[in-house]
């Protein structure tokens, strides 16, 4: 078959380029917003990487950030006696503000109180269990604070040396910083109180049973899996972010659809005489519609591919240059957006159908 659609588009290369760029921009907008959403939705992942899988918190604690949790300290041995519990780590956590070189900084301090012989990997110890007087920071916070490894932070009169800076502790609204448990006790200044107990359970252990037993040990407490606990952070982010995502994704779809629709419509109008000639030659409606839909799909496919490539590059660049912006590029999102763009292309190709139907083939006899 003669590729009439392709020839028509290539005959107007400038307009084709603008149309493809328009669709690519719409796809870029949509995918960037989605990658930001994915990035922000995964802010709780750090909780899941901590050494433990069940969190005991004060009843009514909706998550690590949103509410306070005060539990009686020194109950770790009793909790360790619950069937299915292998290890118990008291956790001290609190978001705090402090000054550093005249700048007010805010960070979410967390300390795991692990006994000396606790079966923890070297990586976990280095990352989450700094020595007394040390603090491990997230890269985003370190950038914001303007500190590097070896610098000292003064928090509530206690000097903390920056021992390690690593990625993955950015929770969008705040960043995690890991302290030694002794430093946390001194800085927080609430003796005999822990924020959470983090339990490592054996495979197949029943969370409900552990929760029931834990309540006997720690009054007015509740248990949540790490996944649930992390999910609380994601939920908070999603609650504030989803409506914005919805609007921007909708905007991207409308822009993309409008660009494809306009391109197809103008290309059809400009080629009205050609369509009239084809009608006069006996072309069926299906043949003519195939030309229109192919034109529309070519613009949709080229624009989508360009948009996906640009989005993948842009998401990576944004993550590197502005670490506060958490981006996570999902290829499944890209596939969905491309599918959406192609669906829009098909829908947009219906716009000029009436126009084609209305073309009088007798026009071919008019000079």
């Amino acid at each position: 078959m003669v590729p009439v659609a392709r020839r028509n588009l290539l005959a107007e290369k400038g307009r084709l380029a603008i149309s493809v760029a328009g669709v690519a921009f719409a796809v870029l907008l949509t995918l960037l917003v989605l990658s930001l959403y994915r990035g922000w939705s995964s802010v709780g992942k750090l909780i899941e990487r901590l050494p433990g899988d069940v969190w005991i918190a004060q009843q009514g604690t909706s998550g690590p950030f949103n509410s306070s949790s005060y539990l009686t300290g020194g109950l770790e041995d009793k909790l360790a006696g619950i069937s299915g519990v292998q290890l118990v780590l008291p956790v001290y956590a609190r978001e705090m503000s402090f000054d550093h070189k005249g700048k007010e900084l805010r960070v979410f301090f967390m300390a795991l109180d692990a006994p000396a012989g606790a079966p923890l990997s070297q990586d976990v110890r280095e990352r989450f269990l700094p020595a007394e007087g040390d603090v491990n920071l997230d890269t985003v916070f370190a950038d914001e604070a303007g500190v590097g490894v070896g610098d000292t932070l003064d928090v509530q009169g206690r000097a903390l040396r920056v021992a390690r800076i690593s990625a993955g502790g950015n929770a969008a609204l705040t960043q995690f910083a890991f302290l030694n448990a002794e430093d946390a006790r001194q800085i927080f200044g609430v003796p005999g109180v822990v924020t959470f107990y983090l339990l490592t359970t054996s495979a197949g252990a029943e969370v409900n049973a552990i929760e029931a037993a834990a309540k006997e040990v720690v009054p007015k407490s509740e248990a949540r899996t790490s996944e649930e606990f992390a999910g609380q952070i994601s939920k908070t982010v999603e609650k504030g972010f989803l409506p914005v995502v919805g609007v921007l994704v909708g905007l991207g779809i409308v822009v993309g659809g409008a660009v494809i629709g306009l391109t197809t419509y103008t290309a059809t109008i400009e080629k009205s005489r050609d369509f009239g000639v084809l009608k006069a030659l006996g072309a069926s409606g299906a043949y003519l519609y195939r030309i229109v839909i192919t034109q529309s799909l070519i613009v949709g496919v080229l624009g989508s591919l360009l948009g996906v490539i640009a989005s993948a590059i842009a998401a990576d660049l944004i993550q590197r240059s502005i670490p506060e912006f958490l981006t996570e590029f999902w290829w499944t999102d890209a596939a969905l957006v491309v599918g959406g763009a192609l669906a829009m292309a098909v829908v947009a190709s219906f716009v000029p159908v009436r126009r084609i139907n209305g073309i009088d083939p007798a026009m071919v006899f008019r000079a």
Partner: protein, 249 residues
């Protein structure tokens, strides 16, 4: 090769536009037939209804009354949706303004007519190529339509008209946009295709030179058709004299 078998029969065809005081009878009770191998030239002043008649024969406009048969098929009795099939397989069009698709090459312009009729791929390419070679355009196959000269465009248009081997060729002022030499070449080509291949050609034109090549010349004035005899005087001169005598024009 005129075998006297009518490929086209036009029976008492009329076309009326408007109504009441604005009523215009563009074609008035036209009745004629054209046989295989015959080239019929229809002449007449501007606005006499020539193109309207051609448009109706081509199935692009419905007559107000009368019947048109192409290859024995009553196209006036067909539903609107059935007419494209007749145009695909039974009629070839040659236009005054060529009506080539500018974005396509010469070969693709012919090939597209085959595609429309369901012939695709290598077969369509080969047939398009053969038709253009026959039309003397071997060196212009890949030229974009817009890059061809007027004469070349008309040859491509003729090759396209022949692509689906129709029995009836309808040509609307095929030489109007061509110089004398190219106009003559195009008419010779049309003549050969009609006579040599047993087709019927209906050519609408102002061009008096076509009279020499025509088997019959029909004169259409004010929607009414009559046959011009071989010795009859130049109808345009006669029409002009008539207007002067009656004080019109």
């Amino acid at each position: 090769m005129n075998d006297q078998r009518p490929i086209l029969r036009v029976e008492h065809v009329s076309k009326v536009f408007g109504s009441g005081r604005t009523l215009v009878r563009a074609v008035d009770d036209v009745d004629f037939a054209a046989s295989s191998g015959e080239m019929v030239v229809i002449m007449g002043p501007s606005g006499s209804g020539k193109t309207t008649l051609l448009t109706m024969i081509g199935g692009l406009l419905r007559p107000t009354s009368g019947r048109i048969f192409i290859d024995g098929i009553d196209v006036t009795a067909m539903r609107r949706g059935e007419l494209p099939r007749v145009r695909r397989h039974h009629v070839g069009f040659v236009f005054q303004t060529f009506n080539l698709l500018d974005a396509l090459s010469a070969q693709e312009n012919v090939e597209v007519a085959l595609n429309v009729a369901g012939v695709a791929g290598g077969e369509a390419r080969e047939r398009a190529r053969a038709l253009l070679v026959e039309a003397g355009l071997e060196g212009r196959l890949d030229f974009k339509a817009k890059d061809l000269s007027g004469g070349e465009k008309q040859r491509v248009c003729i090759a396209r008209a022949l692509a689906n081997e129709p029995r009836l060729l309808l040509a609307d002022e095929p030489t109007a946009n061509l110089d004398t030499r190219h106009g003559h070449e195009v008419m010779e080509l049309l003549h050969d295709l009609t006579r040599g291949q047993g087709r019927t050609a209906i050519v609408v034109s102002h061009d008096l030179r076509l009279r020499e090549m025509a088997d019959r010349v029909l004169w259409l004035a004010d929607g009414r058709l009559r046959e011009l005899g071989p010795g009859e005087e130049d109808p345009y001169l006669a029409a002009g004299r008539g207007r002067r005598e009656t004080g019109r024009g």
